[in-house]
Symmetry: C2
Subunit: 293 residues, 2 copies
């Protein structure tokens, strides 16, 4: 099964590469920056969730690869802008210089913009598994809501405001839900919608995505304490240095591990009715609990 | 007729305000920055083109206001990011401090991101005049293509690379077509598509948009030479100070004025078959020739 996730990751990488081919109409430097941002080492969690959610809903993931690539591009866009000097000012990401360090700030800003926009172009032009126009519009709307002021971008704003201030569990979970959880959840929802899932199945996959997203973020916070730069591909200890409120800083490592495990269980519970079709989603949830990077 | 364009502008402003209302879920500062970017003084050329193109195609502009607001949000996004210190480093826009000066760089970057994303959310969720899902997908695709690496963002990249270098008329027209022309053209095309126009009408409005966009940009270059800061709402003489290649720097003022007039004529020619339905589009084209801001 780990082989299967690795195989999906390889298919996603090949498809992403196909959407970002050199072209006489595209200025070469910006394309190089966009490719650098998207095609570097990565877990491809969100695109795999699109594919695996489609499989849970319909038994297969055919036709979902464009949407899978779109959510990964949006994820890459958010990282590129989040790393900028005016925001988190990160110089290392996935073990490599961040885009504005490797290229320059203007290129990083515009490459991020281009990736966000390309995601919507792909969602609007590439048919989903069902090919139904209404489903494609609903999927675009779900993704756009997850990215916007009530989602990821709103979470980035709150995260900047929050830095250095002690908060409550509610504050912390809200930021994580917005900043990371919304796009993870939207990946599951979009995969389900584009596969023709009914409302009950979409709601179940939404619950799965929400629990998975929170589990993912709690383990991220834990890894910032316990991981090495080599393992996590970015500077560890950054949260503590910034006096950032995290799950470990609020609850300690042991309680945080327990909370992550509870969310993994909740994710598995949400997909219990899908049977064997949800085996990939179950494997993803279990891999969160044991993640080292 | 000037009254009618002013009336349309007022309706657009009211609708834009409605899409950016305070809300407990949205961090107040980012919303304030987004409102500042979008709701400041502006010509509202692109949204009015959506409405007027729909009217030319179908005789009315009902149901097109959400799409009109979406293209204005994309225009505002592009200005906010273009003004950033890492790009054009402009401190004055439409007579007011630019967003990163009034707020800060992080807020400007994220407000721009949010506006681009909100535009697609609106296009995906708000029905067009025809309400046909296929037309809405086509309109989203047309707008996304106009914004992307083969459009506006590609033009911004080329413009940064170009600065200070002498170029040919072909280079100059290419940059303007991408940076300004594509979104102006897409506004016409989206209005036509969402109004149920046939392919011939869409192509005519595309030709109109392309000529209008070029006329608009040539007059922009002329105003940078001849206008006052008060009139044009930004620092004049900036192009010359940056040794930027412009229409006046390549051809002189008189020839540039003639070229702008030719493009206005081409725009009027493209819509000659629409009759009285295209009176607003004709008025817009004629207003370009006499623009002072």
């Amino acid at each position: 099964m780990a082989d299967r996730l690795a195989h999906l990751r390889g298919s996603v990488d090949a498809a992403l590469d196909g959407f970002l081919r050199p072209d006489a109409e595209i200025p070469p430097l910006i394309l190089e920056a966009a490719r650098y941002a998207v095609l570097g080492p990565g877990k491809r969690l969100r695109p795999i969730l699109v594919l695996a959610s489609g499989e849970a809903a319909s038994g297969h993931s055919e036709g979902l690869m464009p949407a899978a690539c779109a959510v990964e591009m949006i994820h890459a866009f958010s990282l590129v802008h989040d790393d900028l000097p005016a925001l988190d000012d990160d110089s290392l990401r996935r073990g490599r210089p961040t885009v504005h360090v490797k290229f320059d700030e203007a290129t990083a800003i515009l490459a991020g913009d281009a990736l966000l926009n390309l995601a919507f172009e792909i969602l609007a032009t590439q048919p989903g598994a069902t090919g139904q126009e209404g489903a494609r519009l609903r999927a675009i709307a779900a993704v756009a809501r997850a990215v916007g002021l009530r989602g990821m971008i709103g979470g980035q704003v709150l995260d900047l405001e929050f830095e250095g201030k002690v908060g409550t569990r509610e504050d912390l979970e809200r930021i994580h839900r917005l900043k990371t959880g919304c796009l993870i959840t939207a990946s599951c929802v979009a995969g389900a919608i584009l596969s023709g899932a009914d409302d009950g199945a979409i709601a179940a996959l939404e619950r799965y995505g929400r629990a998975l997203g929170l589990a993912f973020q709690i383990t991220d916070d834990i890894l910032d304490v316990t991981g090495s730069a080599e393992e996590i591909g970015k500077s560890p200890g950054k949260d503590a240095a910034a006096a950032k409120t995290t799950f470990p800083s609020l609850f300690g490592l042991e309680a945080s591990r327990k909370m992550a495990a509870e969310q993994v269980d909740a994710a598995l519970g949400a997909i219990s009715n899908f049977g064997a079709r949800s085996s990939a989603l179950a494997e993803i949830a279990r891999s969160i609990a044991s993640r080292r990077s």
